[in-house]
Amino acid sequence: MRSMSDARSIIRKACSEGRTKLLEHEALDLLEAYGIPKPPHAFVNSAAEAVNAARRIGFPIALKVVSPDILHKSDVGGVVLGLQSEDEVEQGFNELMNNVKAKAPYARVAGVLVQWMVPNGLETIIGATRDDMFGGVIAFGLGGVFTEVLRDVSLRVSPIGEDDARAMIRETRASILLNGFRGMSKRDSEALVAALVKFSLLIDENEEIMEADLNPVIALEEGRGAYAADARFVLKC
């Protein structure tokens, strides 16, 4: 497990390079520094490294290009999903690199993220924004593509404790789904509670973070955890 000093160095590095967004692997490292569960990942620069990493992480694997110049990775073929073997990972890596070279020749490629694919679960969002009057504000809601359409979200000013986190979850309609609606299995709400409390600490201790989305945070069946599959951090240094 990493420590808070890792978190500081991640943010300082981004700031010193004049970036206002963390790269994907930095964002995941930041979550790891605070003990927020995310699928195991590695940051690699070659097909061979990708294969090694995949062997260590386990299958299925997702590969994602990491570049400060690419905003929507899938638009340039920078995401390859569902790789089940070492061979598929090697092919997938080469395919991804060719796609990016062809569709975004201008982009600087920092490397490739090798990530375990979280099984299907209920997609939630955990997020933060920083308000002039109140400081850090934590959000929880239904995640994935419908987040902004359904606006099923509850807010709290950070820091929050476990009771606050439970109340936040209870206030959303997502809680009906988490409790197992119509034969769906009950989801790991307590894992979300733990993630919310740790995330609130992360936001409180790192004032450069202006906005953040962990979307989706995938809640698996009860006892199997919740994983932040994707994370975005917007900084103001």
């Binding site: 997020g127 924004t129 109140f134 504000v137 959000a139 979200v153 000013v157 953040a212 975005r232």
Partner: protein, 466 residues
């Protein structure tokens, strides 16, 4: 807050001496209205200051606050803005504890005004300042009244258990006028204007210590200084454990939002953040001014419920249905009564009565029927509170019903009444309830919201758990 800090704010709200700086004979001017109001009602020592007079309406006028010869608790400043910094210096030098700067023309009008406000701050020394650009303080029991609205235009409420902290002066004035007409006791009201020094947070903290205040109501448009929301929350968390705070936040539109890059920032609108913070701090949020005082009446007079179960007792099935409709979405329950209780009620009540929950006494209702049901059900574990609906258009009811409802207070459970109509007889009934400490509402939805507020506050103080 330090002891001396409390002492200074006490001087602001409960001064034993007041000097009006800028007192004048000029009719209908602010300085004139404040002078007249204080001369007529203020129970402490009143001094008038204006170098242009030696006498105002028979009261001696001093050329400067320093000439009075003794320290004054509170200076009320009504001179034009450019003169305020020098007046403030004198106020400070005279050993005054607090000042209300009524005058406008400061940061609310732009850069130059903001500079002037800064100057006032520098010349204030230790004096605590309310305002500038405010309507000040109304204290019903001491007669301190800097609301510069003539009495024939703005009625003054009787002393009572409610306190009002308002960001808007005009809103505060209209609330007091409205409360006076409805015999609603607002003992103290404060408008804080530009908040050069004393903030809503300071006022809330101080009113928490005032034993005459049972419920704090707040009208707010928004905070002004960075980090202020968080300081307010921290104070409110403590105060809300001691007494209920009801807040109405105006300004809820999404119109002005900065461009944002994340889902969360797009979802967390300005108002939504305020609302979340209020909830976290144990405040009870109202959706309108009327709603705020509907809830305040209940919180000032009723005990807290120990659960969510409501008995609805009515003489109208229609009103009973409305009550159920209003209560359930608020998370309150209207449970069926146990069979044994229903059996007993069937024996007491005439056959036409509908024995369920709501209990509908129908058009043949009498005072005695209400009394029997309240005695039979309210003391039992079946319910935690009651909404008593009495349409006084029925010939079988008398004003004495009010006494039966008031007597039910002895069970230590919240009781609110609904009485709708317009006749004189009903007005007397409502009046009797009101005097007996039973809040009465025109419609079931308003009574439901009042019961909801009691339940919410019971959660804040830990009487009810989620």
């Amino acid at each position: 807050m330090s002891l001396s800090g409390e002492d200074y704010i006490n001087a602001l709200l409960n001064p034993s001496s007041v000097a009006v700086i800028g007192a004048t004979l000029r009719r209908d001017s602010i300085g004139n209205i404040i002078t007249i109001n204080l001369a007529k009602k203020y129970r402490g020592k009143l001094y008038l200051v204006n170098p242009r007079y030696t006498d105002i309406n028979g009261i001696k006028a001093y050329p400067s606050i320093k000439e009075i010869g003794e320290p004054i608790d509170l200076a009320v400043i009504v001179v034009p803005a450019p003169l305020v910094p020098s007046v403030m210096r004198e106020v400070s030098e005279a050993g005054t504890k607090a000042a209300i700067i009524i005058s406008g023309g400061f940061s609310e009008v732009g850069e130059e005004g903001a500079r002037l406000e800064e100057e006032v701050k520098k010349s204030a020394g230790k004096v605590r300042i309310l305002g500038p650009n405010c309507i000040g303080v109304f204290n019903a029991s001491t007669g301190l009244d800097t609301f510069f609205l003539p009495e024939e235009r703005m009625g003054r409420p009787r002393p009572g258990p409610l306190a009002l902290i308002s960001q808007s002066g005009a809103v505060a004035g209209s609330i007091l006028d409205w409360a006076a007409r409805r015999n609603l006791g607002i003992g103290i009201a404060v408008n804080y204007g530009n908040k050069l020094d004393v903030t809503e947070t300071d006022l809330m903290r101080f009113l928490a210590l005032d034993p005459s205040v049972k419920v704090i109501t707040m009208y707010m448009e928004g905070f002004k200084y960075p980090g202020e929301g968080r300081r307010f929350m921290e104070a409110a968390k403590e105060v809300s454990k001691r007494k209920p705070i009801i807040i109405y936040k105006a300004g809820r539109s999404r119109a002005s939002k900065r461009a944002v890059a994340s889902h969360t920032a797009a979802l967390a609108g300005n108002y939504e953040i305020y609302s979340a913070a209020f909830k976290q701090a144990g405040l009870i949020e109202s959706s309108s001014l009327r709603d705020m005082f509907d809830m305040a009446k209940a919180l000032a007079t009723q005990p807290l419920p120990r659960g969510r179960k409501v008995l609805i007792l009515t003489d109208s099935g229609g009103m009973g249905v409305q009550a159920t409709d209003s209560l359930e979405p608020l998370g309150l329950m209207v449970p069926e009564l146990p069979e044994t209780q229903r059996d007993r009620l069937r024996k007491i009540l005439p056959p036409l009565a509908v024995v369920g929950n709501p209990i509908d006494l129908t058009g043949s209702a009498t005072d005695e029927m209400y009394k029997s049901v309240l005695e039979e059900i309210l003391p039992t574990d079946s319910v935690d509170m009651a909404m008593v609906i009495a349409l006084m258009q029925l010939p079988g009811l008398t004003v004495n019903l009010a006494n039966y409802i008031i007597e039910a207070k002895k069970y230590g459970k919240p009781v609110v009444a609904v009485s709708f109509g317009g006749n004189e007889f009903m007005a007397r009934f409502n009046d009797a309830l009101d005097k007996g400490g039973i809040p009465v509402y025109a419609t079931p939805d308003r009574a439901a919201k009042a019961l909801w507020a009691l339940t919410e506050y019971a959660k804040v103080v830990g009487e009810i758990h989620e």
